[in-house]
């Protein structure tokens, strides 16, 4: 053999055809097993010997985990074995839904690169749980829920509760994420995503926003989700409530951002890529730019 031949730690590979079978394997092997979806994260972790599962359970053969559904009023439901590029293509084919889930669409279209999006899954991105996962801020802005199954049944967790810290998620070894449910956004809403990627591949600060009924303080709703700058994705309700008051909307944004940053100040990450101070500034700058863009889009769509 002429070129360096890479080997992973040894393991046994399973490719179950049904959810039942997969859950049985996870129950049987517990901590010794790892789920393989797109493998983009898992294989890298195994190459770096950060993970060395004895059993690898590939979920791509499970038909019921594939595909995307939408029900008016309920929202999107994205199977755990659905590739990221399948989701963006599906939204490309449904312009109405693409507009409704614009922040999610923008974030997914910018994850990694074309080849990786053809392989990686949304659920895998969510489960990888590094702070910079691009799916986090849009999922938080739509109040998305992670649907989790085990042999003893199904449960759901809000994305902001599911992600507990770098590499930590609310998932037991015998559990499997089966899909991500993204509820219907409010009527007359616009949304968008923004991230800052310096000379590394990963965002150092991401912001997703959603705005509905902007002209009427009584029914107005503005949501702001931050990720990558913080260990876990965050929403700050008191900051969002600022928009329920009367007054100039840009001044309200100012106040809301003060509240938001005040609340998360001590959690903001600091590492060789960016200082906490810089990240804080980048949350503010992006929130402004994004909000001004959403105001324009709102007027064009609903004004």
């Amino acid at each position: 053999m002429s070129s360096p031949y890479t080997t992973l730690p040894e393991f046994t590979y399973y490719k179950p055809k049904t959810l039942e079978e997969a859950l049985e394997l996870l129950e049987k092997y517990g901590e010794e097993a790892k789920v393989l979806a797109g493998g983009v994260g898992l294989i890298n972790f195994m190459l770096e010997k950060l993970m060395s599962p004895k059993y690898v359970v590939d979920i791509k053969g499970i038909e019921e985990l594939r595909g995307i559904g939408y029900e008016e009023g309920k929202g999107l439901s994205i199977g755990a074995a659905t590739r990221i590029s399948e989701i963006t293509r599906w939204l490309d084919g449904n312009p109405e839904l693409k507009r409704k889930y614009q922040a999610l669409y923008e974030a997914l279209s910018r994850i990694a690169d074309m080849q990786i999006r053809n392989r990686a899954t949304l659920a895998g991105n969510v489960c990888e749980a590094l702070p910079y996962m691009d799916s986090y801020s849009p999922l938080a802005v739509y109040d998305a829920e992670v649907v989790i199954a085990s042999r003893s049944g199904e449960r759901r967790a809000l994305i902001t509760e599911f992600v507990q810290g770098p590499g930590m998620i609310d998932l037991q070894p015998e559990e499997l994420v089966v899909r991500i449910d993204v509820p219907e956004p409010p009527r007359r809403s616009v949304s968008g995503f923004s991230k800052i990627v310096p000379a590394i591949e990963y965002s150092i600060a991401s912001v997703s926003m959603l705005a509905a009924n902007i002209e009427d303080p009584a029914t107005r709703e503005v949501r702001i989700a931050v990720s990558a700058a913080t260990p876990v994705p965050v929403r700050v309700r008191e900051a969002e409530d600022v928009f329920k008051s009367q007054g100039d909307i840009v001044e309200l944004l100012d106040k809301a951002l003060d509240k938001l940053i005040g609340e998360i100040e001590y959690d903001i990450l600091e590492d060789p890529y960016a200082s906490a101070e810089y990240r804080k500034e980048m949350i503010r700058v992006q929130a402004y730019q994004l909000f001004l863009r959403l105001l324009r889009e709102y007027r064009a769509n609903w004004g």
Binding site: M1, S2, S3, P4, Y5, T6, T7, L8, P9, E10, F11, T12, Y13, K15, L36, G39, V40, I43, N44, L47, V56, D58, K60, S85, A112, D113, M114, Q115, I116, N118, R119, E201
Partner: protein
């Protein structure tokens, strides 16, 4: 615990015995002889190991060989027909889309995929640039590469 997998590589059925911990890029290169599958980073970053698998451009260094059982795979070796380069390969030659050539098979496969997927629509230089953002060249500076893809796309559209 070896397992025999079946791959259809460039239209030819190949059977090969692999261990679960072997990567598709290594198996294609070293067990099956498709040396056009380059390895630059071993970790999904450089795109030099790009192949088209079941119609999708993917990075074969972060795929287990066992995951590919039953798959249809295209590598750069399969593009030329009867000694004639494919439109994408030809455009790379005409536009000097390569220098040392080490990244070229990866770029050609990624470009082939971009051109096919967009065969029925216009594409902008910006779209080509972002579609190639996961494929790295240390020599050309990319301009000639983008020009090559745009030219191949124009030619394919005319042929259709």
């Amino acid at each position: 615990m070896g397992q025999v997998i079946t791959l259809k590589v460039n239209g030819v059925l190949r059977e090969v015995e692999v261990e679960p911990y072997e990567l598709l890029a290594d198996v294609l290169r070293d067990k099956l002889g498709y040396k056009g599958v380059k390895k630059g980073c071993w970790r999904g970053e450089c795109g030099l190991c790009t192949i088209i698998m079941n119609g999708e451009a993917v990075k074969s260094c972060i795929i287990l060989a066992v995951e590919a059982d039953g798959a249809e795979i295209e590598t750069v070796e399969g593009l030329a027909r009867n000694g004639r380069l494919s439109p994408v390969q030809d455009a790379y030659v005409k536009n000097a889309g390569l220098q040392c050539g080490f990244c070229t098979p990866g770029f050609i496969m990624a470009s082939e995929y971009i051109v096919r997927r967009n065969a029925n629509r216009e594409i902008t230089p910006g779209e080509v640039r972002s579609a190639l953002s996961g494929t790295i060249c240390r020599c050309t500076g990319y301009k000639q590469i983008i020009d090559s893809v745009l030219e191949a796309h124009r030619r394919i559209k005319i042929v259709r």
